[in-house]
Symmetry: C2
Subunit: 117 residues, 2 copies
DNA sequence: CCAGATCGTTACGGACCCGTATCATTATCC
DNA sequence: GGATAATGATACGGGTCCGTAACGATCTGG
């Protein structure tokens, strides 16, 4: 049973959520940062810089810089992989989980407000 | 009949669409630009710089710069209001309508892929 | 008319992000 | 061990955006 959304509903939803994100002057993540954050919190670990770069179709420095920013915001952490010390494992944080949860609530709340017209 | 989305579905949808937006190296609009674009195309005209600034809760220069970028991309146009020449009216374009439509399709397509688990 | 208000834009200094190229560290394989 | 490969981080030059403050153009009211 797929999720049924009509184009007009999708646009209304997209707009309302983005309005909230813009008005909430704290969390203004770029599309890349959002994609990284959600990938780390939705997909099974482990997550590496290389793996994320491949999934997003971008270069490694892009991931490194995004991790710098997301780490500064406390939304995730980096740790050396002790098995293979070349790798860096990206780990979740409490603050990050809360931010993801808040985003989920934001979307679902606005979905409720959108009539099925 | 409200639109029913559970939090886990919302997050999957948000991630998949953002992954597509990141991989599509053309249209990487910021959250503010997206909010402006969708407001212009979903809400009734006329749209002014001041009105958009108030709706988004940001300052006027932010809107001006976003309109510069969106205009350079051909997604909308500015026109002097002849009745009150202090005002600037933001108008839609064919390319902008297509971009909005493409975004709507992107969201609805990914919604279909998300199982109702 | 002319002072004041309103509208959108521009100037400026600073911060962030990008893509390419390069680097330091670590593992692999003969 | 030593050459090679792989990983993530960094350097650099360039572009975009931000927030505050100022600006020119235009309307309004006495």
């Amino acid at each position: 049973m797929p999720l049924e959304i009509r184009p007009s509903q999708a646009l209304k939803l997209w707009r309302q959520v983005h309005l909230d994100l813009v008005r909430d002057h704290d969390a203004d993540l770029s599309a890349r940062q959002t994609a990284i954050l959600l990938t780390v919190y939705l997909e099974l670990p482990p997550h590496t810089v290389r793996g994320l770069a491949k999934q997003l179709g971008v270069t490694k420095p892009v991931i490194t810089r995004a991790l710098d920013t997301l780490g500064k915001l406390g939304l995730l952490t980096r740790k050396r992989d002790e098995a293979d010390r070349r790798n860096v494992v990206i780990q979740r944080t409490v603050a990050g989980a809360l931010a993801v949860e808040r985003l989920a609530d934001l979307v679902t709340e606005h979905a409720k407000e959108i009539g099925g017209s």
